[in-house]
């Protein structure tokens, strides 16, 4: 099978997968802690507006902060209880961000409303997009872009493909894998809903071949029409296919996935719309299903806790706002060998300083790495071996771009394509001189905004 499976055309690397660490174990539900910190803004776009007050009682699924403007998303209460305070706290990627502290009363008032039998009534199709928006669904692959925005392309473009990203090309992470395996029918139903909204019939679910059980579960759900069990009304016809893809990083990068499945290349600086595609993550598809069929807002997600320095690696279902420390406790704590911790995958994740930060919608995994896994190394001089050039999926020459950055020549660095870089990290992964290529590209991007001379 591997010889015929599709992949993106250029570059890419194949790091140690490490999926076996966390893939085998069952999904564990993390006990909801007494106190949660829900960040006000958990998406890419305009910050949300807080609509609750200090001391106010809230229910599960109640809106804490509403969308402000078209490219924004609301945030819902993951528990019932009292708003303790509205203030600032550290979250992943920001030292200080507005958060809403909630004291959990342990009653989960209001959660019953989302536990009824799911129904997707296609006669209410016009209502679907609104439900997705008000459920606060954002891209769960990591970027956290509001899903409803992506499902409403500008009027002048024609969309002919809905691509579902089940690649999970980041090593170690298995959160999407477990969803595809255990909730395949709902994932596919979510895909169908999105296809219905977009008015396309062609849905392609791309999954890397290192997840055979996920591919099988999805294919079964599609071929035996399991996913239509909850459908009612005038069901449109769908052409849903699972596409096995070669295990190759960054297969799940948006532009690479589009190329792998459709053969089209999104031009530099443009969106997938420009080639008639919409890409959504499998986790997002499930959240869409929950939003439409259960009217359930997004207030929990699966987080992979893995790495050589966590006692019980696996997948953990946690409410948004749960501190990382609670997840670590649920996974049996970290071991002595802990040398580095990362929020996200090893290729694009962010270093984590402590366990105080809360789970957010875009948090796909937490890595607890040993010194050997973290692979920190001193950088040496570039020997111009060209490995980075061959690894770059965007067709750039990272060594040349970063050499310019070293001389503070930002314009030259930009003219060599620094702004096209997706920061996938493939170049730095293969660099024998251990050069900090991605960081230098980020410098260029930083200065391109700050010094517009």
């Amino acid at each position: 099978m591997s010889s015929v499976t599709a992949r993106f055309k250029r570059g890419g690397v194949h790091p140690y997968e490490g999926k076996e660490l966390s893939a085998a174990s069952e999904l564990v539900t993390v006990e909801v802690p007494k106190r949660l910190q829900v960040p006000v803004t958990q998406h890419l776009g305009k910050p949300s507006k807080v609509v609750v007050e200090k001391g106010q009682d809230v229910q599960v699924g109640q809106i804490l902060a509403e969308a402000d403007g078209p490219i924004s998303a609301p945030v819902h209460s993951p528990v019932s209880g009292k708003v303790l305070k509205i203030g600032d706290a550290e979250i992943v990627g920001a030292y200080r961000a507005p958060v809403i502290d909630i004291m959990n009363d342990g009653k989960f008032t209001g959660e019953e409303a989302f536990k009824g039998t799911p129904v997707v009534n296609w006669d209410e199709k016009g209502d679907f997009l609104g439900r997705i928006r008000s459920a606060g669904v954002v891209g769960l692959g990591g970027a956290a872009f509001p899903t409803a925005v992506k499902l409403r392309p500008p009027p002048n473009v024609k969309i002919d493909h809905l691509l579902i990203n089940g690649c999970e090309c980041e090593p170690y992470l298995t959160a999407d894998d477990i969803l595809m395996r255990e909730r395949a029918a709902e994932v596919v139903a979510g895909c169908a809903i999105m296809a219905g909204i977009l008015g396309v019939d062609r849905v392609r679910i791309g999954v890397e071949v290192n997840k055979p059980r996920a591919i099988e579960a999805l294919s079964t759900a599609i071929s035996q029409q399991v996913y239509t069990a909850t459908f009612k009304g005038a069901i449109p016809s769908f052409d849903i296919v699972t596409v096995p893809l070669r295990t190759m990083y960054p297969q799940g990068a948006e532009k690479q996935l589009i190329e792998a499945i459709t053969g089209r290349q999104v031009p530099s600086g443009q969106l997938p719309f420009s080639v008639g595609c919409v890409v959504q993550n499998v986790g997002t598809a499930l959240a869409v299903f929950d939003a439409v069929a259960r009217k359930r807002p997004l207030f929990e997600r699966v987080v992979t806790l893995t790495g050589g320095a966590i006692t019980n690696p696996g997948n953990y279902l946690a409410r948004i706002g749960t501190p990382v420390s609670a997840l670590v406790a649920a996974a049996g704590g970290t071991t002595e060998a802990l040398a580095a911790q990362v929020a996200g995958g090893p290729m694009m994740g962010k270093s984590l300083r402590n366990h105080d930060v809360p789970v957010v919608k875009g948090m796909s995994g937490l890595l607890f790495l040993t010194a050997a896994e973290a692979a920190a190394a001193e950088e040496t001089d570039c020997i111009r071996c060209g490995r980075c050039v061959n690894a770059c999926p965007m067709g750039l020459a990272p060594c040349e771009i970063t050499a310019q950055a070293d001389f503070l020549k930002w314009e030259k660095s930009i003219s060599l394509g620094a702004l096209d870089c997706v920061e996938c990290g493939s170049c730095q992964y293969v660099c024998p001189a251990n050069r900090f290529l991605v960081a230098r590209v980020r410098l260029t991007k930083f200065y391109s905004r700050r010094l517009p001379k």
Partner: protein, 328 residues
């Protein structure tokens, strides 16, 4: 004041296990067959030249680093100076006076590498800079080729020398292909054994230290070019196989032109680089005063690398015009 010792870094947090040191020592390993072949054919004297060149290169490297304020301990043994030393020696006749070997090492390390800022910054292959320097400075010593298995002081022309002086017919008759293949002919101590060099090249390819583009296009260009001249004037020019197996083509294509620092970084650039090396080699061999042109060809192409990298940069993703979707 400090708290925990958690590693903080920007992504990616994973690396493959390759390092500059590993790359360099793989190249050294790949040179081993040729080292053995050189020792077999040219005796212990060849081994002495190689050892001296490596040691001299290491010493000069250490001094150069100290002078330029670089960390000597960490990088002296990264293997790059060892390779330079070996390659300098392989490009010398085994009977060269030892002090000239030391001069060669000095030129390679200081003039070839450190005046430009050290590893990674030199535009020209240091070993070739040394070879050409010696060839121009000491033409007699640098063209006194000891006979394989011969005693000290007995010299003979290289196959290409024979070809230039006495013509294709004599060369074909006096030097059998078998000798060219295993290296039982006169020449630089590391360049004669095509089979040993090929073996080393295969090691480099398998270990992915080099990619196929440069050696394959280099050799293919020599083959194609000399096939044409051979077909046009078979009595004047010798056949392409003889060209490829003789002289420094094998050493040049597998070990000298593929030097990472002085070759292009993109695949397209590498293809052009290989073609250029082959082309200039043939031009010099067939029509210039020197019987062999590999060193000059590679140096010429080294000089063109910045230009090649600029104009043959990899095709950027999305550079293909907006495709079907936009039209649809």
């Amino acid at each position: 004041m400090s708290e925990n010792r958690m590693i903080l870094q920007s992504s990616p947090h994973a690396r493959d296990r390759e390092s500059v040191r590993k790359v360099m020592y793989t190249v050294t390993l790949a040179l081993l067959p040729a080292v053995i072949a050189g020792t077999v054919f040219f005796g212990l004297r060849a081994l002495l030249v190689m050892a001296l060149s490596v040691v001299a290169c290491l010493i000069f490297e250490g001094i150069a680093m100290k002078v330029s304020g670089k960390p000597v301990k960490e990088t002296l043994l990264d293997g790059s100076a060892v390779i330079t030393g070996l390659l300098v020696a392989m490009n010398l006749p085994s009977g060269l006076p030892l002090w000239m070997v030391v001069v060669g090492a000095l030129v390679a390390i200081v003039l070839g590498k450190h005046v430009y800022g050290g590893l990674g910054n030199n535009p020209f292959n240091p070993a070739l800079v040394a070879r050409v320097f010696l060839l121009i400075s000491f033409p007699t010593a640098m063209t006194a080729w000891p006979v394989p298995y011969g005693t000290d002081g007995v010299t003979a022309a290289t196959p290409l020398g024979v070809l230039q002086m006495e013509g294709a017919a004599v060369a074909l008759q006096s030097i059998p292909y078998y000798n060219l293949l295993i290296g039982n002919v006169g020449g630089c101590l590391g360049e004669t054994s095509a089979i040993a060099l090929l073996l080393g090249g295969i090691i480099l390819l398998v270990r992915k230290v080099i990619s196929w583009e440069i050696p394959v296009t280099f050799i293919a260009t020599v083959l194609v070019f000399t096939t044409i001249t051979w077909l046009v004037a078979p009595d004047k020019h010798i056949n392409p196989l003889w060209h490829v197996l003789s002289g420094g083509v094998m050493l040049g294509a597998w070990f000298m032109a593929t030097d990472m620092v002085t070759s292009p970084v993109s695949r397209k650039g590498m293809l052009l680089f290989g073609v250029g090396c082959g082309f200039f080699t043939c031009i010099i061999r067939l029509w210039a005063g020197y019987p062999e042109g590999v060193s000059f060809a590679i140096l010429i192409m080294n000089g063109l690398v910045p230009l090649i990298d600029r104009y043959l940069a990899p095709t950027r993703f999305g550079a293909r015009q907006a495709t079907q979707g936009a039209k649809a």
